[in-house]
């Protein structure tokens, strides 16, 4: 026997009442036990006393005792056996509610000891005349499989389930499908993997397909979700069958339950792949739009799930909601998480015709109270400018208006965004530079400062007092953040290369400070490189520092095409909501590096939209460019800078990989950051995010600072460099890049 409660206290009183001769008193005691259980008190000691009250005509009391059993069966396994008799008896009760309750509860007890006793009642229940019992029994098979799969197979429950797909009752069919799918999931992820002939593998045959398509129109909303999920797993034989499934599923778009709608969208997206008829596909896409828009009238949490999925759908089919941008306008009282998703979708839907309406909305949002939302709205203006060229000027005007408000965080964000616009449209909007510079003193965020400094450096020849402006940052150099230091350094060198006569002093000063008083190795390294470049060959320095940079653009997708297809097949699941493959968050929530590379996706999706955008774009467009500009310096530069083994744990790598601390834009705006970002992704096969770029810095460190172990002299130059340990002739860009040093 278990430990009995002491002869006093609450539990003792309960135990007395549970054994009372009066029925009401006993029932009341049970309620009090459950109440204690609910607030988290341990009442497991009362197990035997509660158990005595199990056999009763009072359904409510029975349910309470069952509930108690479910909670404490695990702690008192040896006593659960005492309940078996009542369970078996209840499973033969004339009232179907009691029969079902007994089956349902036994399945939840999860105690090894009583499982064997479950099989007979379950077998009976699966053939019960009452559909309520059968639908409960169907799910119980899945529970049993989870607990002890051999019992399910030995007792032939699986084949019984397969028979039940043809049940006359749609609810039974739906639960059967849910149970089979559940079992399939367990079996297909088992170790070692089961063969595809295993009975637990739920292969949907055309025969089953017909059965569940019929049930689809008749079962409850939740049954429909189960059936639709099963339909999404079906592999069609031919195009005609795909069309047939789509035709049968389309009416579900009219269902009031949002999860039915999304499940239907998923099935259509999957089976549309098998359809080649253009007009039919178009028709399906057209029918999909209105129900998706209607989901925006759901409660905010449902809206959010829908919006995340709409975002994915738009990446695949940008035409899906092409005329519906206005419905995504934010309501003043929308929760922030909804507003942010809406912003992203609005920018996706922007085109020449609606961009004016979008901009006036975004401007309105920029005057709202929530700082985070305001910043995101301003970012959205920048994204609009970059993706729609004809709107750029209007975007700049809106940004100037916003800068005019002189609200600190608005100005700072606008400056950051302006920098991106300068990147995209070089030498187009120089007229705004004075306005930006006028706000110099108000900037206190590193990103905003760095952006403005980059702009000053980039247009140094056109800004009369550039040396003066940069001078203020040089004065406070050691107090600034690394991000700002790096930008200041680069900007001053640019200034020097453009106006050598007037800025000799300042460049000397900044290089001196950066190499002597600065504790960031990245800043020091960069300063050494510049110094060496400038002192050996100013021509080479010009070619490197003032090299032409490719324009940026915003890619249409935020995930790789393969992952996008995978996620579209899982619409409405958590994976599609997170925009991450399932293996990244199930299990232990961690994922190996190889898996990340296989997916070819981002490491963290901290909404680093621009971050991803720039990386991908630079990767795609710059390969050629890098090759070009390498040429000159590579020939002239002596091999004084030696490459060393990379140290993957430098701060730059860390920040690059985590993608959170440093803003890649700032890296991008400087030539070296640009190279590191581009080489990270140049050629999908390279698979060494971040390391390549870093090796530059390290190499310099090895050669100039002499702090790392000296490398074998000859190996430091040319495409054969094995600093990466992966000499691969296929990936020209990075290696040439390395060859530079």
């Amino acid at each position: 026997m278990s430990i009995r409660a002491p002869r006093k206290g609450e539990n003792y009183e309960l135990s007395v009442d549970l054994n009372s001769e009066y029925r009401d008193k006993r029932k009341d005691a049970i309620k009090r036990v459950i109440a204690s259980m609910t607030v988290g008190k341990d009442v497991s000691g009362l197990f035997p006393d509660v158990l005595k009250n199990m056999q009763t005509e009072d359904l409510e009391q029975k349910k309470l005792v069952y509930l108690y059993l479910m909670n404490y069966a695990k702690t008192q396994p040896e006593l659960v056996i005492l309940a078996v008799n009542t369970f078996v008896k209840d499973s033969e009760d004339p009232n179907p509610l009691v029969r079902a309750l007994a089956i349902r509860t036994m399945g939840c007890l999860r105690a090894e000891r009583i499982i064997d006793y479950l099989c007979d009642p379950l077998n009976r229940a699966l053939r019960d005349e009452n559909p309520y019992v059968r639908k409960t029994a169907a799910l119980c098979v899945a529970k049993l499989y989870d607990l002890k799969s051999s019992l399910v197979i030995d007792n032939g429950f699986l084949s019984r389930l397969h028979e039940m797909i043809a049940d006359s009752n749609p609810m039974v069919v739906a639960n059967t499908v849910a149970a089979l799918t559940d079992i399939h999931k367990i079996a297909s992820t088992a170790h070692p993997p089961v063969p595809s002939s295993d009975p637990a593998i739920f292969n949907i045959t055309p025969h089953i397909l017909n059965k569940i398509l019929i049930a689809l129109n008749e079962c409850t909303e939740w049954g429909r979700v189960a059936v639709l999920n099963a339909l999404s797993r079906y592999t069609t034989q031919d195009e005609k069958e795909s069309e047939h499934i789509c035709e049968r599923v389309v009416p579900q778009f009219q269902h009031a339950n949002g999860s039915v709608v999304l499940a239907a969208v998923k099935v259509i997206m999957i089976h549309m792949r098998g359809i080649r008829r253009e007009d039919f596909t178009k028709q399906l896409v057209r029918k999909m739009a209105p129900p998706l828009v209607t989901l925006l009238s759901s409660p905010p949490e449902v809206q959010w799930v829908a919006l995340r999925n709409v975002n994915l759908l738009l990446q695949k089919r940008p035409d899906l909601l092409s005329n519906e941008m206005r419905v995504f306008f934010c309501k003043y009282n929308d929760p922030l998480y909804v507003k942010v998703e809406k912003l992203d979708i609005m920018v996706r839907l922007a085109n020449d015709n609606n961009v004016d309406a979008l901009l006036s909305e975004l401007k309105e949002y920029a005057s709202e109270v929530d700082v985070d939302f305001v910043r995101k709205s301003i970012k959205a203006i920048g994204q609009t400018a970059i993706s729609i060229e004809s709107s750029a000027e209007r975007c700049v005007n809106v940004l100037l208006d916003l800068i005019g408000t002189r609200v600190s965080y608005v100005v700072q964000e606008a400056v950051v965004v302006m920098k991106d616009i300068f990147r995209k449209y070089p030498s187009t909007y120089e007229g705004v530079i004075p306005t930006l510079c006028a706000n110099l003193e108000e900037l206190d965020e590193p990103e905003a400062k760095a952006s403005l400094i980059w702009i000053i450096g980039e247009y140094a020849e056109k800004i009369d007092n550039a040396d003066e402006l940069l001078g203020t940052f040089v004065d406070t150099f050691t107090e600034e953040s690394y991000q700002v230091q790096l930008q200041t350094l680069t900007a001053v060198v640019k200034l020097f290369l453009k106006k050598p006569d007037s800025s000799q002093g300042i460049v000397q000063r900044v290089l001196d400070t950066a190499t002597k008083d600065c504790d960031s190795p990245d800043v020091r390294d960069r300063a050494y490189i510049y110094w060496r470049l400038l002192s050996t060959d100013p021509g080479a320095a010009k070619a490197v520092v003032l090299a032409h940079r490719p324009p940026i653009s915003i890619p249409r997708t935020t995930v790789s095409p393969a992952l996008l297809e995978e996620l579209l097949g899982e619409i409405s699941s958590l994976a599609s909501v997170y925009h991450k493959p399932a293996e990244t968050f199930i299990g232990h929530g961690r994922i190996g590096a190889d898996a990340v590379q296989r997916k070819g996706t981002e490491l963290s999706d901290d909404h680093a939209f621009a971050q991803k955008a720039f990386r991908t774009v630079v990767a795609g467009q710059q390969a050629e460019n890098l090759l070009d500009f390498d040429e000159a310096p590579a020939q002239e530069e002596p091999s004084g800078l030696a490459a060393t083994r990379i140290l993957p744990s430098t701060p730059a790598t860390a920040s690059f990989l985590s993608g959170t601390s440093a803003n890649p834009l700032d890296d991008l705006v400087s030539i070296f950051g640009g190279m590191s970002a581009s080489s990270a992704h140049a050629g999908a096969g390279a698979n060494r995010p971040g390391f390549d770029g870093v090796s530059i810095g390290e190499g310099a460190l090895g050669g100039l600072g002499g702090t790392t172990s000296p490398p074998p002299g000859g190996a430091s130059f040319g495409p054969g460099v094995d600093a990466l340990g992966s000499p691969n002739a296929g990936h020209g860009p990075q290696e040439d890049l390395l060859g530079l040093f």
Binding site: E60, Q254, S367
Partner: protein, 437 residues
């Protein structure tokens, strides 16, 4: 599927919980609120779904409660979130209000409901009318033991057989909610009509109903010429009783209705709507002393209609005080908790316009950095016997095998949606406060 469902108070303490699958430990519930706080601290938004250490947390908020579902798999997020909302609805229908106290007082029945509404993480029956037939608060008073109603598993899972009424009646309410957003220059930026057809059904037996609307698509597909106006609904959603495949094939709305009150269908139109009630305010702000409002309102619908219970909400600065109001009609109140004042009119006739003035004091000192808030004006109203879209019920045919006659009653009403807002408060006088350079 969900492994565990719990209702938590705002401190993250579970009030009640039910475990459906073994793979998630109940102790994870206690990690929920700390995680939420962590996310907030990092300056991120707390989204309805997030994952931490392999556990997915899906939650919704209802007044002062969190309804939380935990899952370890790549579950159907929409299904779980919608289910949580459905659970909320059912509990509200059972207890009128869902709050800490009603949960503590009714834990027995909530356990019963949770047991019935979900099995092994799969949602089962969530129709509160059906649940109420066999899970009742007064079960001990019942002489006979409750049995599962046929409806639970029936093909018609929303209606029990053997319903009898002496007088067979159906009430149809066509309710249209208008959402619109007017920009500061007076243009309608966004507008939509959300319509709903609500029914109160007091019919005996298993009646077959067919509803006819002036639906443009149906008129076109059947080649009938419509007398008068027909409307084009952009998206229609039906109660599960409506045969969707039938609607898809020939736009017929045919169904066996649930008993009592329910929402038969909802629809959406995004045809541009002229603001039914136009409001504009001019604001004269004298920093450090006072702010004055002149609010004009105009009813832009036909003279024969009247709007009832009109409320115009005008936002004011948080620190405004000592209000003074003067209105040509209706009454005005200050609602400091909402940083607004509200102008209420019992009735507003079509074509009429009115004006009101408000005056507030402002504290002489004000923090410089705080940007001015720019909440829009919002309007609440109801216009009976009128639909903006022009939708009409053309017929409601009721056929039951006993052959009784039943009368349908139809009412129309147009009201504001959850977002009827106008950004037409224009600052006059002093320019808006700016940060000094």
């Amino acid at each position: 599927m969900a492994s565990l469902i719990a209702i938590l108070d705002l401190k993250g303490k579970p009030l009640i919980q039910r475990s459906y699958r073994d793979d998630v430990q109940p102790s994870c519930i206690e990690r929920f609120l700390p995680l939420v706080l962590d996310i907030e601290e990092e300056g991120q938004q707390v989204t309805p779904c997030f994952s931490s250490q392999g556990i997915n947390y899906l939650h919704i908020r209802h007044s002062n409660l969190y309804l939380l579902a935990l899952s370890k798999q790549n579950s159907d997020a929409a299904e779980i979130i919608v289910f949580l909302h459905r659970l909320t609805q059912v509990l509200i229908e059972y207890f009128k209000e869902l709050e800490e106290e009603s949960i503590r007082d009714n834990f027995v029945i909530i356990y019963e409901l949770m047991d019935e509404m979900m099995d092994f993480g799969y949602p089962q029956t969530t129709e509160s009318k059906i649940l109420q037939e066999y899970i009742t608060q007064e079960s001990h008073k019942l002489e006979v033991q409750a049995r599962p109603p046929m409806a639970v598993t029936n093909a018609v899972s929303w209606r029990t057989e053997g319903i009898r009424y002496r007088k067979n009646e159906v009430f149809l309410d066509v309710i249209e909610s208008v959402n619109l957003l007017v920009n500061s220059n007076g243009n309608v930026v966004r507008s939509e009509i959300l319509g709903a057809v609500k029914m109160k059904c007091y019919l005996s037996g298993m009646p077959e109903l067919r509803l006819g609307l002036n639906d443009k698509v149906m008129f076109e597909s059947t080649g009938r010429t419509s007398r008068g106006k027909s409307i084009e609904m952009e998206d229609v959603k039906f109660h599960q009783c409506v045969r969707l495949s039938r609607f898809e094939s020939d736009r017929t709305i045919s169904f066996i209705p649930p008993d009592g009150e329910f929402e038969l269908m909802s629809y959406r139109l995004s045809t541009p709507v002229k603001p039914l009630i136009w409001v504009e305010a001019s604001v004269e702000s004298h920093r450090g002393s006072r702010v004055e409002y002149v609010v004009k309102c105009k009813a832009q619908f036909k003279r024969r209609s009247t709007a009832n219970n009109v409320e115009i909400w005008v936002p004011v600065p948080d620190d405004a005080d000592s209000p003074k109001f003067r209105a040509t009609t209706g009454s005005v109140q200050y609602a400091p908790d909402k940083s607004a004042f509200v102008w209420k009119m019992k009735q507003l006739g079509g074509g009429r316009d009115y004006i009101m003035r408000a005056h507030f004091g402002l504290p002489s000192v004000r923090s410089e950095s705080e940007p001015p808030t720019r909440a829009p004006l919002t309007v609440k109203f109801e216009i009976p016997y009128f639909t903006v879209s022009g939708i009409q019920v053309r017929y409601l045919k009721i056929v039951e095998k006993s052959g009784y006659q039943a009368l349908p009653w139809v009412r129309y009403i147009t009201q504001n949606g959850d977002d009827y807002s106008l950004r037409t408060a224009v600052e006059k006088g002093n320019p808006p406060p700016v940060m000094q350079p």
